[in-house]
Symmetry: C2
Subunit: 632 residues, 2 copies
């Protein structure tokens, strides 16, 4: 059936299913959902069951939009909104979009705008015609989030066209009678870095992640092979999380013809934009080549479709996607693909942590159905054990106590996203509970901005943190101990008068960034301590210091003498260790039939596959770059 | 380097390497060889070493063509040729091609036209300027061979352009620094039928075979997947042999954009054209759909580049192809690929027989180098034993003797190509040596034409047969016992007066064809015998008769009573049995490192791989349709 016939057919069915007196004036696809236009938005608002029943009957996600002619004037609408919504929700802004008929209400307490079961939202629609969408007023101002929201608001028309095209493609006619499912390794198999995979059926082609290997940037994913090199034939990119080794080359796809959506969670979208812009920015400063620029990142942003965890979404004629919490970094997702009508289910884990951490719940491993699992294997080798998190925390506290007590400063090199925030939460609690002295914790580099993004999406943190933030009103990120270092002046001032403190600064492997200024100043004094909480690659200054070098070259002719203590704490990793990888699979429900390992060096991928095969008596093997396997 | 610079560079090098006083007026690529134009063809003709040394120095195949201005008049040339060439070579025709400067001399004894070490050919060039090519006057007139030759002669100009384009593409600049080799199963893996494989490197894409599954024609190779669906990006098709399950869909490639060459042996070319035209013809008579017509076959023919066994040929910037005898049917080849400059060597066996048969030498398994083998596995399962050939022959002789002695006729359903000729040779010898009575052997269906193609290419038969034909002048195919049934009248006449005889007729599984007329007439008489020498698929009349059915339906309401004897002789297969498959690999020199099995049902491919892995301690596994494996 041609797509317009599909739509006509749907409109027909909808009209038959509508209660007496409720009418629609048109239907259209918008991304993965079907939009109904109506002159009676109030009727839909009155009865939430109308949409729910329609969605169930038609097995499709449905949104209702008011016909433009029933919309109240924006100024009048604002007045009405403020009358309906309780004042202690603290509305900071309302944005009207005449094309979608939506009004975005930014408030400090979105729950109060929504009301019980969405009652308040429905009342708003009833009164003003506009469909309210609620957004949280960020508690810490994130420039990235503001820029993303502004950009989307300024490009509503193009955005709408993109969503319409995506929707029509998703619901296109299927053409093949063959049934098969294949997965192709395009990068990140038997290695870490440049993660990129292709999931294909006779009907559709989905790319999963498209990363860059920051250690060896010439080693890009194999995007030139015929399986993918016609980017315009890709239905979508599914992005598991915002680390550069998973998303760093997505803009390149848009530069060379890709025109489909990127599906990811809302935090992944914000964080991806932040990291990509930073990547382009640093590269241009260092005179390095990045194969795209900020305009390409904008194009990508316009095509990103945020999906929350547990939202079942059509992404191709024969494929449904559901994201689940992966526990790795904010917004990190396990992608569950349901293919065909009950034909096969694939769980693509991305990077995951199968343990409750300070920030996140453990990765999800219960699914309605699952036959094939593609799992990461970073610590999959037989010796891939990590220190338990609680022990790592205690070690860190002790080091800080000892250093501060002798009048020293603690310097922690860290990546902007993930471990920095984990360490922050540990420190906030330790200070609050008096486990360590109440010293300032300086955050330098992109850490503050990344933290602001965390604060914007508290619903992506673990249940305990959420409770702490929402019910107790105690947002640990807002602790007064944290000081954002937002200028060179401030950094110099901190260094001029050394004092007991903790400094968390980028880059994580001391390959550059503000951490270096702190290091040069703090290194000669034996009262200070340098603490590594993340992996240090060979050839980096971080690795040298770990190995015990006592002098480090600075510039051309100078060296700095290293008298400060150097400590390494493992256990803060966002990846499952080998025990957790095994437990994750062993406890998976239902039990999968087949496993592929990826995202680990050769030893890790091979040993994990072998161990899983033996322990669970199921087919398990590593995926290989440039190889294609039949899943069905 | 751009291709014209490559040519200029080559011309330069050639001029430096030429002996004093020998000059060339230009160079160009023509298919896989480099053509030199010269005004001194006599000088090149005088000294065969000039070209040999050049080819060695430049590592490229070289041909010399006279500059048009030095060519003698055709009529004058014919006179001179007849003066130079001994009369007992019996020249039947001379064709002049002014574009290539070639004259094709058709003679009954080509060796006499060539002379010792090519002396006579060189003398001809010296005298008339034209470059002589020698072709055999077919001893049995093959319509196909005549049509192919006529067609090529009538399309010399287009042919020349095609060859030039192919040549320029082969020697194009390489563009990647990556090194990898992949093989993709597109059909014929874990199954028999629709054989199709893709061999790819960063530089080139070679399709190996492209067959049709005659049992299930909707099951075509997976040509729509992105790895191959842009046919214009294929560098070449390498065709192992003329069976429909290996070449049946090649014309389709040309219909949808392929414009490159098909490499195959000369007999494979002739036989392929015969079988494809017959396929199209029968289908149109039966109202079935074939996805191409004779004009597409002609396009394919124009793009076919015949290569003899053991001829090392550049087919892509990073690939050399050499065909070796496969012992399966006439012209069947094992394809040896040398990739990169000593990077890797792949042997693709196609169908092969590792045993000397009446027609062919055993398949070659010695190569300069080989790391990866892709082997057929038709009889690869652990019970895939076949009766030894000599026993099969004796069985057949006994059945014929017994039947003839009681006044009966022997009916042998057979495919046109392969087993028919094998049985013919057995019968010719048996009659000549008196093992069976001297009765007529009728050949009906396409068998005669296929036999004529065998007779045209005696150099593709085994050494014993060649000796018999060339040295003893005893061509068994010309035996007077063989009678071509070339009309309905003749067939009816044979059936009107039943008499002791042998009838070999198509189709091989009694799914139609002339064999059915004989069967209906001969079935009721218990003196006659039906002998199966080939595989009978489930659901065919052949299979039913094998199982012992005593009545067979004819048309709508009639049946024929089967009183004739029904015998099955296995052992005439053109495929290696499980022992021969193992021996072929075990004795391969050098020893390969890795094996893939194809062209067998699931059991055969899996069991052969497992047995080879255990016996030879090398990596061995089945290829899978739609899967891609890294070879390097
Ligand atoms: Zn990650
Ligand atoms: Zn990763
Ligand atoms: Zn064959
Ligand atoms: Zn075959
Ligand atoms: Zn062409």
């Amino acid at each position: 059936m041609a797509i317009d016939d599909v739509l006509a057919d749907l409109q027909n069915k909808i009209e038959k299913n509508l209660p007496e007196g409720v009418t629609i004036s048109g239907v259209s696809f918008e991304g993965p959902q079907l939009v109904l236009y109506t002159e009676d938005p109030k009727k839909f608002a009155d009865d939430g069951n109308i949409i729910r029943n329609l969605a169930k009957a038609l097995r499709i996600r449905i949104a209702v939009r008011p016909d433009p002619k029933v919309l109240a004037e924006p100024e009048k609408s604002i007045e009405i909104i403020h009358k309906i919504v309780p004042a202690d929700s603290v509305i900071s802004n309302c944005y009207f979009d005449p094309d979608s008929g939506e009004v975005i209400i930014e408030a400090e307490k979105p729950g109060l705008v929504i009301g019980k079961h969405g009652d308040t939202l429905r009342e708003i629609t009833k009164e003003i015609g506009w469909i309210p969408k609620v957004a949280r007023t960020p508690p810490i101002k994130s420039k990235t989030v503001k820029n993303v929201r502004d950009f989307m608001r300024n490009n509503l028309k193009e955005r709408k066209e993109i969503l319409r095209d995506v929707g029509r493609k998703i619901h296109r006619e299927t053409t093949h009678t063959d049934q098969w499912i294949r997965v192709t390794g395009l990068g990140g198999s038997l290695e870490v870095g440049r993660s990129c995979y292709l999931l294909s059926t006779p009907e559709s082609k989905i790319m999963i992640d498209c990363g860059v290997n920051l250690g060896a940037e010439d080693k890009t994913p194999y995007l030139y092979v015929p399986e993918v090199n016609n980017f315009s034939e890709l239905d979508a990119v599914v992005l598991t999380h915002a680390h550069m080794d998973h998303q760093g080359l997505i803009p390149l796809l848009y530069k060379y013809g890709f025109d489909g959506p990127v599906y990811c969670t809302p935090p992944t979208r914000d964080m991806t934009v932040l990291l990509q812009l930073d990547y382009v920015d640093i590269a241009s400063k260092e005179g390095k080549k990045v194969p795209y620029d900020s305009s390409t990142i904008q194009k990508e942003l316009l095509h990103m479709i945020p999906l929350d965890y547990e939202e079942v979404t059509d992404i191709a004629p024969d494929m449904k996607l559901t994201f689940h919490n992966a526990g790795h970094i904010i917004g990190s997702a396990i992608a569950h693909f349901h293919i065909g009508d009950g034909l096969h289910n694939i769980v693509f884990t991305g990077d995951y942590k199968y343990e409750r951490t300070r920030l996140f719940d453990p990765a999800v491993n219960r699914f309605p159905r699952v036959e094939t699992v593609i799992t990461e294997a970073t610590y999959g080798n037989n010796n891939g054990y990590q220190t338990p998190l609680r022990d790592a925390e205690k070690n860190l506290q002790k080091i800080i106590r000892d250093t501060v007590n002798r009048g020293g400063a603690v310097l922690i090199p860290a990546f902007a996203v993930g471990r920095s925030q984990e360490v922050m939460i540990v420190l906030e609690e330790a200070i609050r509970k008096g486990y360590i002295p109440n010293v300032p914790v300086y955050l330098d580099g992109m850490i503050w901005e990344a933290t602001a993004i965390h604060a914007t999406h508290p619903e992506y943190l673990n249940s305990e943190l959420k409770k702490q933030i929402f019910q107790k009103g105690q947002n640990p990120f807002l602790s007064e101990s944290f000081k954002q270092v937002d200028s060179k002046d401030m950094r110099e001032k901190i260094l001029e008068e050394p004092h007991p403190c903790v400094i968390i600064a980028t880059s994580g492997m001391m390959t550059g960034g503000p951490v270096m200024s702190y290091f040069y100043k703090l290194a000669p004094d034996e009262r200070n301590t340098l603490v590594f909480v993340g992996y240090q690659a060979d050839g980096t200054i971080g690795r040298r210091l770990q190995k015990g070098w006592s002098e480090i070259a600075v510039g051309n002719n100078n060296t700095v003498k290293v008298n400060m203590n150097v400590e390494t704490i493992d256990g803060f990793s966002g990846h499952s260790d080998v025990r957790q990888l095994h437990e994750y699979i062993r406890k998976m429900q239902p039990k999968p039939e087949r496993i592929f390992t990826v995202h680990g060096d050769e030893k890790s991928c091979i040993e994990l596959a072998e161990a899983l095969r033996k322990k669970n008596r199921i087919d398990a093997k590593p995926l290989v770059n440039l190889e294609t396997f039949r899943i069905l």
